[in-house]
């Protein structure tokens, strides 16, 4: 991708990300209406001057609920990715650097975990934990940790054979110091690119879990939960379906655009040959 093609992508992605973060941050401080306040006189109202995005079947203001739901979705996704990194990076780096039976043991368990599509790992864990915010974070972190481990392992494996690592070992540097100073820094780029795509995946899966009713428990607003609540009103109140989905899609678009830009910066193989 040429430099000219890169900038509009970052501009659009950055502007969208800023808008989503700003609206969600504002949602923590104040929303136009109380996001969980029931107002039966104003049930299922289409978008108007009073309610910009309309109201749901309990008369709750959709814009307020979207703003309040945003920070929850974002924080859960961020925490889940952070958890996956904290579990996956050390495991992967140690596996790749140590090699031998340690690597084989970790690799076999990883392959088994990767045999489950990540949303099913999350569903399985949620079935045990029951719906809760912490549960979603834990389930998603566990679902994505294997992917992180795999990428960190591959990177550690390749830097293990490099001369500077040999040099450090010959000079008598202890293994933990070699890992920290020479192996870990080389994981940052590939793991960073993966983390961006995992953030999108985490947001998507959190929405799916909440949509299914096994994610964040109601009445706390979540984008996925709002979509599920709007499902029975399709044809009657389509704004209940359109706006929460739009919020998810625009957030994902922002993450994907910025993630792609990051990947092209960090991974020279993806650049055009000319």
């Amino acid at each position: 991708m040429s430099a000219q093609a890169l900038s509009p992508r970052v501009a659009v992605g950055g502007a969208l990300a800023l808008a989503v973060v700003a609206a969600s941050a504002a949602g923590v401080i104040a929303t136009p209406y109380d996001p969980v306040a029931v107002d039966l006189a104003a049930r299922i109202e289409p978008p108007s001057a009073a309610h910009w995005l309309g109201t749901d079947q309990f008369g709750r203001d959709l814009l307020s609920r979207l703003m309040a739901g945003g920070h929850k979705s974002l924080l859960i996704s961020l925490a889940a990715v952070l958890g996956a990194l904290l579990a996956g990076v050390p495991l992967g780096v140690v596996a790749g650097y140590a090699g031998g039976w340690v690597d084989r043991a970790i690799g076999t368990v990883l392959d088994a975990l990767m045999a489950f599509p990540s949303i099913l790992v999350a569903l399985g864990i949620m079935s045990v934990l029951g719906p809760s915010e912490g549960g979603v974070v834990l389930a998603l972190a566990l679902a994505y940790a294997p992917a992180v481990t795999r990428v960190a392992r591959a990177s550690a494996l390749s830097s293990r054979r490099r001369e500077f690592v040999d040099a450090a070992r010959v000079l008598g540097m202890p293994a933990p110091a070699i890992l920290l100073r020479h192996v870990l820094p080389h994981c940052v780029a590939p793991v960073g690119v993966l983390a961006a795509s995992l953030l999108a995946a985490a947001l998507l899966t959190e929405s799916a879990l909440s949509f299914l009713g096994v994610g964040v428990p109601p009445p706390a607003p979540t984008w996925g939960g709002m979509l599920a609540e709007g499902r029975p009103f399709i044809g009657l109140a389509d704004w209940l379906t359109i706006f929460p989905g739009l919020a998810i899609a625009l957030t994902l678009l922002a993450i994907n655009l910025l993630g792609d830009a990051l990947r092209d910066r960090l991974d020279p193989r993806m650049r055009a040959p000319r």
Binding site: S2, A5, T108, V109, D111, A112, L113, A115, F116, P117, S118, I119, L120, L123, G124, I125, M126, S127, V128, A200, L204, T205, S207, A208, F211, L212, G213, V214, L227, G230, R231, I234, G235, D238, T241, I242, G245, I248, A249, L250, L252, L253, N256, L257, D260, R269, M270, A272, P273
Partner: protein, 313 residues
């Protein structure tokens, strides 16, 4: 070739064993008495004790696992707590519904994405490439459950062309069956087109950079000949692998779409079982999906050498 196939098969065994162990342990992590969970709510302590003995829960954990594994190997996934039906029978009854939607979506996605991705790479940075890449990012950002709902609003409710809920089996009435699955298939395919297009494009770009492609062009072969003879066959391998991995997304996406469109598939079975705390069914569904996923990716590994002679042993 046979050695390669056997090698792959043997490699899948520990994966499936550990997958089985994880599923087995999952239910042991549930707070509370597994006998109560496995048998359902029993007020009678004697019956519960009996159930505990019947289920072997008084035995040590490794022995329990081996007994359970033996059952699984013989096709016994236990019985549903709510209906008492054998879990495997329940799964086999609903799996074809999910499989049909997933297969149709994969086929549709491949038919659109592979040619489009190849052409986009061939005309890199041209208008078609820009449009394809842009649409792919957009497609990746639209969750299949939202596109499913939008398609439902447009074709099901507003235009009234397609039935909005329910399912008819293809054996009963093929036309009605296709009408019922058209919307979930479209929603599922939309996201997968985006993933597959990006992968095909990247794989094609990688191949086009190679010297023999430059050579083929230099010796005056037409674009079509270079593409079909030199680029596509070599770019198809990675695409095929992605097709296998995509199945994971599809199996995940179908869970939500089955709820939206009221399809009686495996995803619905799993979600309903989670709500009813019907753990034998949850266990069975997870294990079954892992088997299917590993099986399909094994198949992809086995097919790979047919398309890419370089990995042929």
């Amino acid at each position: 070739m046979i050695r390669y196939a056997l090698q792959r098969l043997v490699l899948a065994v520990p994966t499936l064993l550990i997958a089985g162990l994880l599923v087995f342990l999952l239910i042991r992590l549930v707070p509370g008495d597994p006998a109560l969970l496995l048998v359902g709510d029993l007020g009678d302590p004697a019956a519960l004790e009996q159930a505990r003995r019947d289920l072997g829960l008084d035995r040590p954990l490794p022995e329990q696992f081996l007994r359970w594994l033996g059952g699984v190997a013989g096709g016994d996934l236990g019985r549903s707590v709510t209906t008492g039906e054998p879990v495997l029978a329940m799964i086999l009854e609903r799996f074809p519904v999910s499989a049909q939607v997933v297969l149709a979506a994969t086929l549709l996605a491949a038919l659109v994405a592979i040619p489009a991705g190849t052409v986009a790479a061939w005309r890199q940075d041209g208008p078609f490439d820009h449009a394809a890449v842009g649409l792919a990012v957009l497609g990746l950002s639209v969750p299949s459950f939202w596109s499913g709902l939008l398609i439902l609003i447009l074709f099901g409710v507003t235009l009234g062309w397609l039935p909005t809920i329910g399912y008819v089996s293809p054996a009963e009435d093929l036309a009605a069956n296709l009408a019922h699955i058209a919307m979930p298939v479209a929603a599922l395919a939309l996201t997968e087109v985006a993933t597959l297009l990006r992968m095909t494009r990247a794989a094609t770009l990688e191949v086009m950079r190679l010297d023999y492609v430059t050579h083929a062009r230099a010796k005056g072969l037409s674009d079509a000949a270079v593409l079909s003879r030199h680029v596509f066959p070599n770019a198809f391998g990675p695409t095929l692998t992605v097709l296998g991995l995509i199945l994971g997304h599809l199996l995940g996406g179908i869970v939500v779409l089955e709820k939206i469109f009221g399809l009686p598939g495996m995803g619905r079975l799993l979600v309903d079982a989670i709500f009813q705390r019907d753990y034998p069914v949850v266990q069975g569904c997870l294990l079954f999906i892992a088997f299917v996923y590993v099986g399909v990716n094994l198949l992809v590994d086995l097919l790979y050498p047919l398309f890419d002679p370089r990995v042929r042993p």
